[in-house]
C-alpha cells in the first residue's frame, strides 16, 4: 500500500529510495510514458537483484538497468530499441546467462496484471497452446475449460503483482492525481502494484478529478504513492502530446552500448549532463 503521509511532490531521489534490492518493477512500453529520469536515479540508488516486468515490452530503460548489473530477471514480450535495433545489454545478458528470462506475449502480461487488479489468483487466456513460450513457462498452467462440452484446454496466467510501478506522465495535480489520458496500461500497472512512483512534466493547481473531461483520463491519488517533477522526463523517449522521441539519441545509445566500455562511457556522459 502507498505511504499515506508523504508530501504530495517529492524529488527523484526520494522516489528511487522506495526501490529496495530484490523488488519487482513494472515499467511501461516505449510510447506510454517511460520515466527515463528515474533510470538515472535508480542507477544512483543502486538497488540491485531486480525483477523487471515490461508492460508489455521494454527498451532503453530496462536495457540500461540490465547493463548496470541491477537486474536478476526479466518478464517481457519483447526488448527492443525500435528503429535503433535490438537492446544490446539485454542481448548480451541473454547470451551470457546473466539474467533469467520469462519470455511472454503481450496479452499474457496484461492478463497477469488484470488478475492482480481484480484480486484474482489468475486470468485465463486463449492462444499460447503448443508454443515454446508456454513450454518454458512452468508458472503458467493449462486446465480444461469447465464450460466446454468437449476437450478445450485453456492457459491460466497467474497474477502479476509488482512491488513498484514507475512511469512518466504529462501532469499531476496537488492532490496526487495523475493524468494518463488514454494510456490506461499505466492505470493497470498502478492497480496491480503495491507502490506506484510517477514523474511528471508539471504539477497543475486544479484538481484533475473535479472536471469530468480531465477526470476521464486521470489515475486517482489512491493508487499513486509518490510523485516527482522531471521536466523532459521521458527523454530520449517521447511523451504523447508533449514531445517526440529523440531517435538520434536512442541510436547513439544503441551504438555506444554495443560494448561494455561504450555503455560505461554513455552512462558517464549522462551523469556529467546531470551534474552540469
Amino acid at each position: 500500500m502507498p505511504p499515506s503521509n508523504s508530501a504530495p511532490i517529492a524529488d527523484l531521489d526520494r522516489l528511487a529510495g522506495a526501490v529496495e534490492p530484490g523488488m519487482a518493477l513494472a515499467l511501461p512500453v516505449d510510447y506510454a510514458g517511460v520515466s527515463m529520469a528515474m533510470t538515472w536515479a535508480l542507477l544512483a540508488r543502486g538497488a540491485g537483484d531486480l525483477h523487471i516486468v515490461n508492460v508489455p515490452t521494454g527498451g532503453m530503460q530496462g536495457d540500461i538497468l540490465i547493463g548496470a548489473g541491477l537486474v536478476r530477471s526479466v518478464e517481457t514480450s519483447a526488448m527492443t530499441l525500435g528503429e535503433a535495433g535490438g537492446a544490446p545489454c539485454f542481448n548480451r545478458a541473454v547470451k551470457s546467462g546473466q539474467i533469467k528470462l520469462k519470455d511472454a506475449t503481450c496479452p499474457a502480461i496484461h492478463a497477469g496484471l488484470m488478475a492482480a487488479q481484480k484480486g484474482s489468483p489468475f486470468m485465463p487466456m486463449r492462444g499460447l497452446l503448443e508454443s515454446d513460450l508456454l513450454k518454458f513457462r512452468d508458472d503458467w498452467k493449462v486446465i480444461e475449460n469447465p464450460f466446454a462440452d468437449s476437450a478445450d484446454p485453456v492457459v491460466l496466467i497467474p497474477a502479476i503483482k509488482p512491488d513498484v510501478a514507475i512511469f512518466h506522465a504529462p501532469m499531476a495535480d496537488r492532490f496526487g492525481n495523475v493524468w494518463i489520458g488514454r494510456r490506461r496500461e499505466l492505470a493497470a500497472m498502478a492497480y496491480a502494484s503495491a507502490t506506484t512512483l510517477v514523474t511528471v512534466e508539471r504539477v497543475v493547481e486544479n484538481n484533475l478529478l473535479a472536471d469530468e473531461l480531465s477526470a476521464a483520463g486521470t489515475l486517482p491519488a489512491l493508487y499513486v504513492s509518490d510523485i516527482a517533477v522531471a521536466s523532459n522526463g521521458a527523454w530520449p523517449y517521447g511523451l504523447w502530446g508533449e514531445y517526440p522521441t529523440d531517435t538520434a539519441e536512442i541510436i547513439r545509445y544503441a551504438r555506444a552500448a554495443r560494448t561494455d566500455e561504450g555503455f560505461a562511457a554513455y552512462l558517464a556522459a549522462r551523469a556529467a549532463d546531470k551534474a552540469a
Partner: protein, 259 residues
C-alpha cells in the same frame, strides 16, 4: 512507368485484404500499412464497405482508448479481421520464431521477442506473414523456437492463423490441412528456381507459377497519389523513399525508351 517492387508488394497486400472490415498493423510496418491504405482507397472508389485501419503506436491512426491491451481485447472479440506477423525464422508448417536462433534461453542470436504473436496468430482470421528478406536463414526447415505455431491440434481454440506468406520474391498461400505453403505467384523479375534455392522448407507449386500481377493503371495512380499522401503522414521517411524509387524507375524507363 511500371510498378516498383515495393508497389507490387503493396498491391499484393491490398488484394489479400479484400473483404476485410478492420485490419491492424504493427508499429514500423510501412508496407503493410500502405497495403491497408490502398485497400481502403480501392473500397472507397468501388463504393464497397469501408476498411478500418488501426496502426499501432501511431497517434493519427490510433482508434483505441483503453491502453495497449485493447488491440488484443479487440482481436479476442472478433473485431480484427487481418494482422501482419513476421519472424526471424519461419518454417514450412507456418511456425514463427521471434525470439532467437540457437538453444533457448541462451540464444546465439536474440531477437526482440514474441510480442503479441502467441495470441493474435490464434484469433485473427487472416494473419499475413510478411518478410521481405527471402533467404534460407529466414525460411528454415524447423524454427529454433516456436513463438506461435502455424497449426495446432483439433482441440485447440483457433479462430485464426496463417493466411498467406509474402516475401520479396513471391506470394504463398497456406494450407492448414497439409499443413504447408503453396507458391501462388512469383514477383516480376524473379524465378521459381530462385525461390526454391532461397527457401529452407518444401512448398507446393505449379510447374510454372504465374507472375504476381502488378496494379493496373488506375490503381497505380491511386497508390502513387492518394495513398502516398496518406502514408506520408505516418511514415514520412518511407513515403519519401518510395517517391524516390518511383522517380528513379521513371527515369530509367524514360532512358530505356529513348535508347
Amino acid at each position: 512507368m511500371p510498378a516498383t517492387p515495393r508497389e507490387i508488394l503493396i498491391h499484393t497486400i491490398a488484394g489479400l485484404l479484400d473483404g476485410v472490415r478492420h485490419v491492424a498493423v504493427g508499429a514500423s510496418s510501412p508496407i503493410p500499412a500502405a497495403g491497408a491504405m490502398l485497400r481502403r482507397a480501392l473500397n472507397r472508389r468501388a463504393g464497397l464497405p469501408p476498411t478500418r485501419i488501426s496502426i499501432l503506436g501511431s497517434r493519427e491512426h490510433n482508434f483505441f482508448t483503453n491502453g495497449s491491451a485493447e488491440l488484443f481485447d479487440c482481436a479476442g472479440q472478433g473485431r480484427i479481421d487481418a494482422f501482419f506477423l513476421g519472424g526471424g525464422q519461419i518454417d514450412g508448417r507456418g511456425n514463427i520464431n521471434l525470439v532467437g536462433a540457437g538453444d533457448y534461453p541462451r540464444s546465439s542470436v536474440r531477437w526482440p521477442g514474441s510480442f503479441g504473436s502467441a495470441y493474435l496468430y490464434y484469433v485473427v482470421p487472416r494473419v499475413i506473414l510478411f518478410r521481405e528478406e527471402h533467404s534460407p536463414r529466414v525460411f528454415v526447415d524447423k524454427v529454433d523456437f516456436v513463438s506461435a505455431p502455424g497449426v495446432t491440434g483439433d482441440h485447440v481454440y483457433r479462430k485464426g492463423g496463417p493466411y498467406a506468406l509474402l516475401t520479396g520474391l513471391g506470394l504463398f498461400s497456406f494450407d492448414k490441412r497439409r499443413p504447408g505453403f503453396t507458391l501462388e505467384s512469383v514477383h516480376p523479375g524473379h524465378r521459381l528456381d530462385d525461390i526454391a534455392q532461397a527457401t529452407g522448407f518444401a512448398f507446393a507449386h505449379e510447374p510454372a507459377p504465374r507472375t504476381t500481377p502488378p496494379p493496373d493503371g488506375p490503381t497505380l495512380d491511386l497508390l502513387r497519389h492518394q495513398v502516398l499522401d496518406e502514408l506520408n503522414e505516418t511514415y514520412p521517411a518511407f513515403a519519401s523513399a518510395m517517391k524516390a524509387d518511383i522517380e528513379r524507375d521513371a527515369e530509367r524507363h524514360d532512358t530505356g525508351r529513348r535508347q
